[in-house]
Amino acid sequence: MKRHTLSVLVENKAGVLSRVTGLFSRRGFNIESLAVGPSEEDGTSRITLVVCGDDREVEQVIKQLNKLIDVIKVSDLTGRERVERELALIKVAAEPGEARAGVMQIATIFRAHIIDVGGKTVTLQVTGDSDKIDALEGLLRPYGVRELYRTGRIAVLRGQKTVRSEK
């Protein structure tokens, strides 16, 4: 089993996300992470998927994705030089005083932004790869994580290469 990052360029049409995710569930695949948004070209969206499976299973999923009429292109970024990012919003218990100071210190170390402060909570925004967010969450747990929101992962190739220009 290996983690694969897939970048899928699709026509921005009604139902396309349902087609893509439906295909995964039908073939018994779990999606670990999913992020969708418009791409650089009008009328198209980019879906970034992180899935676990052996190479043959993932190859089959890629082929099945390619069969969807609204899928323009599927790129497997696994094992390639790339930058991956995820964003998290974490509302953590931090009463004024020692707790709040501790949370703010951790935030500084992780370059997280404090985007909101309540009477008894602080909300942090952090970006990075998944490991970094996992680590931050782990350190905040003892203070009491009230709510955690994570976006799906997105990924881009390093350098001047683009997935669009590749065959």
């Binding site: 349902s18 039908r26 089959q60 390619n66 969807l68 009429i69 609204d70």
Partner: protein
């Protein structure tokens, strides 16, 4: 001047060459039916929407054209689903039209609303929910294009009522061509891969061609036969590939797999090169996949890249249309003189382990099928239901031409046969269309006797009547200690039912009556039913038990 969505829809169908559609009216399709009332498009009123889908499927299989069916929203649309899924599994080009509640009520749990767009997503090649009447010309053109090109399949168009009633300028343009950038099927095989395949073919000492439905779909029967003859290679076909090579061609080994011939299965196990042509290594074909063609290198030709390497690792994958690829291979392939010993071995198996036709004075289904095969002599169309009747037909009928055999392979849909046979009659007017049915599956869509009688559709039905759900009973006999749990059926007077609908028929209780009854069916002007009371506990042999290797057959020997 203006026109309506419904008129544009029917105009679009006519422009696509559609002559006959199968359907059932209802509330939200009233505007479409109003246009059909005085349209040149022929509409056949079925008795259940499932039959509309199967009839369109049978029409498509028998003609090679796109079949079209039409149903109303909600229950009508849902009733199409089994037929659409049947076509999907067998890659049959179908356009299914469904009515839908008006767009302003979508998602409102309105009367007869069902999310048929969502429901059919996993069983269609593509589907559409049309939101604007102006989109219709483009959607219709795309639907037919998608259904009939690449790996064919069903496409559904969901039509809200206000789309059908929507006004459009009557000079609205229909697209001449369709181009979709997310859909670019590869038709021509890659030259280097073809080169590699030729290389393997030339060197093979024990080659075997394994041909599937792709041969029929791409019209490659001549190329398949030419390749077999050039190489001196035997050919085995899947259920879907029957008719891809003439049934009595000396190189034809018949069907392989769970109920394949022993000699075809032995040939798979012993071959050193397996050429899969428009076939997909289905579990009913391969048995235990690890032991399928264990000594062979594999060439796999298929238009769908997702099929290649899906079930079985492949040495030379070739993505492309079977007809194109075989033509390219034939252009480069010298004749192969090395197979004489191999053919001698294969023919030894053929002589030692022929299909068994019991002959002990009782009425056996294998003999019925063989008699029909003699009578038709490769002409016309044979349709089957699903179960023992299907396997006996596949084993014992000698199919001589492509598109002469219609059967639900992938989905194994009981109830497919009777409506599919109706579709075949419209696709091939003037030709004999025989349905080989079981008493169980015939009763799954027996209401279509109504459609058949109403339109005098000349379907000839041969019921292999054993008063069992025979294939399930066979499994219970062999693997469940003869505990016949819910597989026995009470006797049914099928001729009586046919008569009640105004259809003639005859019951057969004795082997001597079989031939005269089948001749009477053939010669009858209009539909006819032959109810054959066969040996009740006859089994389909040979048989590969579930999970066994395909050379581990039971009942393959005298």
């Amino acid at each position: 001047m203006t026109t309506t969505g419904a008129k544009v829809l029917i105009e679009g169908l006519l422009r696509q060459g559609t002559k006959t559609i199968f359907g059932y009216p209802g509330g939200v399709v009233l505007p479409i039916y109003d246009v059909l009332y005085d349209s040149p498009l022929e509409h056949i009123l079925v008795r259940h929407e499932q039959a509309a889908a199967h009839a369109a499927d049978g029409y498509a299989r028998a003609s090679g054209k796109v079949g079209v069916c039409l149903a109303t929203s909600g229950p009508g649309a849902c009733n199409l689903v089994t037929g659409i899924a049947t076509a999907y599994m067998d890659s049959i080009p179908l356009v299914a039209l469904t009515g839908q509640v008006p767009t302003n009520l979508l998602g409102n749990d309105a009367f007869q609303e069902s999310d048929i767009y969502g429901i059919t997503m996993p069983v269609t090649k593509h589907n559409y929910l049309v939101k604007r009447a102006a989109d219709l010309p483009q959607v219709i053109a795309e639907a037919f294009y998608l259904a009939s090109t690449g790996r064919p399949g069903p496409v559904l168009i969901d039509l809200p009522k206000d789309v059908s009633t929507g006004e459009l300028p009557d000079d609205i343009a229909f697209p001449e061509t369709v181009s979709l950038r997310g859909y670019q099927p590869t038709v021509r095989g890659h030259p280097r891969q073809i080169e590699k395949a030729v290389d393997l073919l030339v060197r093979a000492e024990r080659p075997l061609l394994y041909a599937g439905g792709g041969v029929i779909l791409s019209g490659a029967d001549r190329e398949l036969t030419a390749l077999a003859e050039r190489l001196g290679a035997p050919v085995t076909t899947t259920l879907m590939g029957l008719g891809g090579i003439c049934g009595d061609h000396p190189l034809n080994l018949g069907m392989l797999g769970m109920h394949g011939t022993a000699y075809a299965n032995y040939a798979v196990t012993e071959c050193d090169l397996l050429v899969a042509i428009g076939a997909r290594f289905d579990d009913r074909v391969t048995g235990r996949i690890e032991t399928f063609a264990p000594h062979a290198q594999v060439i796999h030709i298929d238009i769908d890249p997702a099929e290649i390497g899906k079930n079985k690792p492949v040495d030379v994958p070739i993505v492309g249309d079977v007809k194109h690829v075989l033509t390219e291979i034939l252009n480069r392939l010298p004749s192969n003189p090395k197979t004489e010993r191999w053919l001698a071995r294969v023919n030894g198996w053929r002589a030692a382990h022929p299909l068994v036709v019991p002959d002990n004075g009782s009425l056996h289904p294998q003999g019925v099928v063989r008699t029909l095969s003699d009578l038709l002599n490769g002409e016309g169309v044979v349709v089957s239901e699903v179960g023992q009747n299907q396997m006996w037909a596949a084993q014992h009928f000698c199919f001589k031409k492509p598109r002469s055999w219609l059967s639900s392979g992938g989905l194994g849909t009981m109830g497919y046969g009777l409506p599919a046979a109706m579709g075949a009659c419209y696709a091939r007017p003037g030709e004999q269309v025989f349905l080989i049915a079981g008493d169980g599956s015939l009763q799954m869509n027996i209401q279509e006797f109504g459609t058949i009688a109403h339109n005098r559709i000349p379907v000839r039905v041969v019921v292999l009547n054993n008063r069992y759900l025979g294939m399930v009973r066979q499994w219970q006999e062999l693997f469940f200690d003869k505990r016949y749990s819910y597989t026995e059926l009470p006797p049914v007077d099928f001729v009586g039912i046919a008569n009640a609908y105004g259809i003639d028929g005859v019951r057969v209780n004795d082997p001597a009556e079989v031939r005269p009854a089948l001749e009477a069916a053939r010669d009858h002007d209009g539909p006819f039913v032959v109810d054959v009371r066969i040996e009740r506990e006859e089994n389909v042999f040979p048989m590969v038990p579930a999970g066994a290797a395909i050379n581990e057959m039971i009942g393959g020997h005298e």
